[in-house]
Symmetry: C2
Subunit: 471 residues, 2 copies
């Protein structure tokens, strides 16, 4: 906030909206908020008929629309959106954006076949151009669906960074590496993280990207944690992706993948853990001391499709561990749709717990917004609409048959809404989707080029692969 | 098909589309088709760059677009839709349309509380006007989402019939009754079925609507079966909705709800069974003799949300019993979105079976189209795009970021598509949705009136209820 006598002139005012200001479920990252009756519904703060003032990239104020003054409007672009729901831009806490290319290319197969017979042989073919095109399509898909930030983990990350920058999106980028690449893998990931952190007016931040606990050895994980600390970033890593991985690790070496992350200093250095469906109760002892810098990304549709157990959210919640929502890549999730992901999460949670009262929509919204922000270390300026937070704002049009009547706003945003209900998307104070369309982007040439390149990219006749999946 | 020398003039030609002509998984209703390796993927017939000719309410021909002649186009309205996917209009095999009113009104509660504390006390308040408004909203929601037929089960069915007729939709309507109403309940349901069967140019057909095996006694079920035979309709009935109901029935009277349907003649007279999540292996002996006239409607999202087991589709499939897809009412499903329902079904099937190869998208599409048609006894003219079938056609626009690139058309229609991708909807040869909008319908006054009436409708302070749930 400014310290000048005169308030700064407002650049953008969004009027007459219902503001999902924030959820009130405490997470570890909010030590100031009391923990009442954990596991029960917490209210969501909806402010009816309010206005949001944006200065530059930040939310300056939120107040009843009736209190908006002429001075507030003097220099501002006004979006008059009566009755729309304004919610925080969604944060996809785990994806491989460029894999839009492989959407539908590895269907109805078990996990080992998915890696060894399909994805990793196809990824041999990837060029920087493919990564760039795939990422640009992903940015379009996410922005149109109200996703304003993505935590990405992939190869040729400069291409993805350029697509994020060009598209006006926000991202936390991690260049993937394996120990099989030798020292060069981590060095490259570290160089990317150091070089790109804070770029694109701060819209791009970075993490290190060790692929997984079973493809990066302990010595490299130790080196990763040290490097992360020295750069001042966290790491984004696949760990305990399946219960099979946990069991296999226990059988082979007597420790769980989460303990490996602990023992190598990865948790201490801060970690965004992808999936964690194999997290077991004994892992809580390793995780809880680092609950202020560790989060787990849940991509529930992927676990259903690939027949894994799901992320043990209740266990993690009761221990105060942050859980965010993600989509994973399109080769497994088929979309980058966060409304779909949070809905699937909620339904699987209820069903698995055999408890219809567990994971009420208010809690789901907390995972979707505030906890997803905490999972990427941005609980202080993302995941809520509050003064001082980034102006990453999504407007939803509720005047659709499938959202009416509106008996329960939170339930509507979890169980009825579609991504196509997103009308306006603002990132860092800039309108990037207007009237349900990307501002200033023609996707046709991109789609044409992608489809032309598709046969070469999905070819597997070369008989080689980038890795072998045998965790 | 006509028997005249000269072919009839074509009223509508849809050009340059990819036609989902039909699925090739055999169902009981298709005894002419061989059963190969049941349980494995069956291909879906997609015809690229084809045209569909419609005469009146029926599909007259489907042929390569290059073979369309000038004569074909002479009298026809032409919809030139290059690259769009044409699929059969979807059939919602189980719903209570008017319950759009209760969307979001009974969240995060167990089943008994859902009935006893929320829905049944609120349904005391229902007036014919409410049923009418709720149904009109439902028709709008379904048509916009590519759902052209609904099998509905509710009160004040004349109001719903009027909404179906007015909206240009197709429906199979059943007036709900309980034994607690005495003879009047069945009499009213029978009178509706007899009077409305074949109305609205044949778009409305009927069934009898006994509520459930636990709310309609055996004597009334026997009378229902006899009445159904005399009118020439089937019955639509809730049975084995949960495993608890099956266990409770076995404990109380030593028979499953499905055996009750068998013993009372209900299966012999033809039955659309809602849910059937409590169907057990021993029920197959009762069901299989009637596989040509019995179907089960699966509404998978509801079972997840209310923590029931799911419909045992693999068991039913292996026994040759038809399974269709439905949504149930909005009080439990929160939407009337069939793409959502089939996707949820597919993911739950894979996950529950711990078999990623089970329920491939081609099989899901078969449930969504051909088996849903068979479940309502319309396998001869609905659920596929073929000459002689009804012109119930949905056009999907695949040029969206979340559908590109298109590596697998069937997977895209099950795992990536959104209802908002529906561009054009044709029912009985008539265009009812054009460019994603309802033709000639202004929904605003409807939504305003519904919201005005909402407080009275959801009031439960009267302390009464229409039934008590204690199966």
């Amino acid at each position: 906030m400014t310290t000048e006598q005169r308030p700064p002139s407002v650049d953008l005012v969004i009027r007459r909206v219902t503001v999902l200001a924030g959820t009130r479920r405490p997470v570890a990252a909010y030590p100031d908020l009391p923990v009442d009756d954990p596991g029960r519904p917490e209210p969501v703060d909806f402010l009816h008929d309010h206005a949001i003032g944006v200065v530059g990239a930040d939310i300056a104020w939120i107040k009843p629309d009736g209190e908006v003054s002429t001075a507030d409007l003097e220099t501002a672009r006004v979006i008059d959106a009566p009755g729309r729901i304004a919610m925080p831009g969604m944060i996809n806490t785990h994806s491989h954006s460029s894999m839009t290319y492989f959407r539908g290319s590895a269907e109805d197969v078990p996990t080992a076949s998915w890696f060894n017979d399909h994805i990793w042989p196809m990824e041999v073919n990837l060029t920087e151009r493919d990564v760039s095109l795939g990422a640009r399509l992903a940015v379009a898909e996410m922005l149109l669906a109200g996703v304003t930030t993505v935590a990405d983990h992939y190869f040729s990350m400069e291409q993805i960074a350029a697509a994020i920058d060009e598209g006006g999106m926000r991202a936390v980028l991690a260049e993937t590496f394996f120990s099989s690449q030798g020292a060069a893998g981590l060095d490259r990931s570290a160089a990317f993280a150091a070089e790109w952190n804070g770029r694109a007016d701060g819209r791009i931040t970075t993490m290190l990207g060790p692929h997984a606990v079973y493809t990066v050895d302990d010595a490299d994980l130790v080196r990763t944690a040290d490097t992360a600390r020295s750069i001042g970033v966290r790491s984004h890593v696949h760990a305990s992706e399946t219960m099979h991985q946990t069991e296999s690790s226990l059988a082979r070496r007597g420790v769980t993948p989460i303990q490996v992350l602990h023992d190598t200093g990865m948790l201490d250095a801060g970690a965004l853990i992808a999936h964690g469906t194999g997290i077991v109760e004994s892992d809580l002892a390793w995780l809880t001391p680092y609950s202020d810098r560790v989060g787990v990304a849940c991509c529930a549709k992927v676990y259903q499709k690939h027949t894994h157990t799901t992320t043990p959210i209740r266990l993690l919640h009761d221990a105060g561990i942050t859980v965010g929502i993600g989509t994973d890549g399109c080769a497994s999730h088929n979309t980058l749709d966060m409304f779909e992901s949070v809905r699937t999460m909620a339904l699987v949670q209820k069903s698995d717990a055999r408890d219809a009262t567990w994971m009420p929509s208010s809690h789901s919204l907390d995972l979707l917004t505030r906890q997803s922000a905490a999972a990427i270390g941005r609980e202080h300026d993302l995941g809520a609409l509050r003064p001082g937070f980034k102006a990453d704002i999504v407007l939803i049009d509720p005047r659709k048959p499938h959202l009416q009547p509106m008996n329960d706003l939170a339930a509507a945003l979890v169980l009825s809404v579609r991504s196509s209900d997103v009308e306006t998307v603002i990132v860092d104070g800039r309108v990037v989707v207007d009237g349900g369309r990307l501002v200033g982007v023609d996707l046709d040439p991109l789609m044409v080029e992608m489809n032309e390149r598709l046969p070469g990219l999905t070819d597997r006749s070369h008989g080689t692969t980038i890795q072998t999946y045998a965790p």
